[in-house]
Symmetry: C2
Subunit: 198 residues, 2 copies
DNA sequence: GTTAGTTTATACCAATCGGTCAATACCCTC
DNA sequence: GAGGGTATTGACCGATTGGTATAAACTAAC
């Protein structure tokens, strides 16, 4: 029997993620990927098949490592309001560390959608759909605990929060500074906060 | 003396807009532009200089014809709340007609920002800045008329509305259907609406 | 009708695109 | 250590990239 593949597929995929993340699909060339991944052209095609296949794999892994993991943790919080605020705080922190203005690979891809195939559209749609559902569940949980105003429509507010996250991520790509991003977070927090009884 | 340039620069630019709008900067090739603009390669380079220069011109013109013109009209409305609602209604209608999922060229570019030069960043930043300022002014106007709750922080809410618009535009590129887009509009309207006194 | 300038069409450029392939280097099993 | 099979490697592929150059066809003012 021969010998097993000895370069780490996941590790290589991670490096591919970081390349695609920064430049998007179209603007990334195979040379960029080879340089960034530190493997050879032949190996790349042998291991992944094509640029498109590599992108698919990269996006899937990105989504699992970032969105899925984060939402899984936050969903366990008993207070939905706290979960949402924590999420936004995390996004602000992420933006602060994102000195290269990479934003979010999922959102970047969502805007590139018309260039990709149906498979990518489905991935993005379901990922953002789950994101929205997290918000909805959290709002319901918060409302039952009394930390989120009962007057809010969970579905509507969930869509609105999802939209905020996406806009935030777009603006983080070079338009807003950290203060602007933080303001968006604040606005989102206000939206799910009980009006002060005066 | 010779004869003056007889093919319409603005008209050609409009066609270039529609090509860039759909595919973005990187994914658009000169062949795409030549086909879409209906002029010859030589003429194109003679008239515009380079792909980048053409894109700059196209984006500038797009911004003037769409955002600037719309905001100018809406700013004249006496009631800020009505102006904002009208804006969102317009976006919903635009999305409905946008069967090709082109979204908004300005937002598309905002997400592509790291690929462009400083000039484009400045254009996008100032355009979105003016957008935000329109919201702020409208909110203040609405508050003084009593149509928008005085409890809202104008700057914060303006940023939030801008974020909604951007997220809306991203989701319109293929993730949300028209109902989803309309929900975002509704959420934005709720945000600037006086709570019902019960 | 000459003339200056514009547009068109086409051929061309080096560079790079995504992708392939045969040779080599390699490691594991026997 | 020989054999079998995989990974790596760099050369190589045709096609296309953004951009230039050319000469012919055209148009309008003189």
């Amino acid at each position: 029997m021969p010998w097993e593949k000895n370069f780490d597929l996941d590790e290589a995929t991670d490096k591919a993620i970081s390349v695609f993340w920064k430049k998007g699909y179209e603007a990334t060339s195979m040379s960029d990927l080879i340089d960034g991944m530190g493997i050879n052209k032949g190996s790349l095609y042998n291991a992944f098949g094509s640029k498109k296949a590599l992108f698919d794999r990269a996006l899937l892994r990105y989504d699992q490592k970032n969105r899925l993991r984060a939402l899984a943790q936050l969903s366990q919080m008993p207070d939905g309001r706290e979960a949402i605020v924590t999420l936004f705080d995390g996004l602000v922190a992420e933006t602060q560390e994102d000195t290269e203005n990479r934003g979010c690979m999922l959102v970047n891809t969502a805007l590139e959608l018309p260039l990709h195939g149906e498979d990518i559209r489905e991935m993005v749609t379901s990922a953002l759909g789950e994101f929205e559902e997290f918000f909805r569940q959290s709002i319901i949980k918060g409302q039952s605990l009394g930390t989120i105003p009962k007057a809010l429509d969970p579905s509507l507010t969930a869509k609105s929060l999802l939209t905020s996250v996406i806009g935030m991520r777009v603006l983080a790509r070079g338009t807003f500074d950290v203060d602007g991003i933080r303001a968006i977070r604040d606005a989102a927090v206000v939206m799910i906060t009980n009006p002060e009884v005066s």
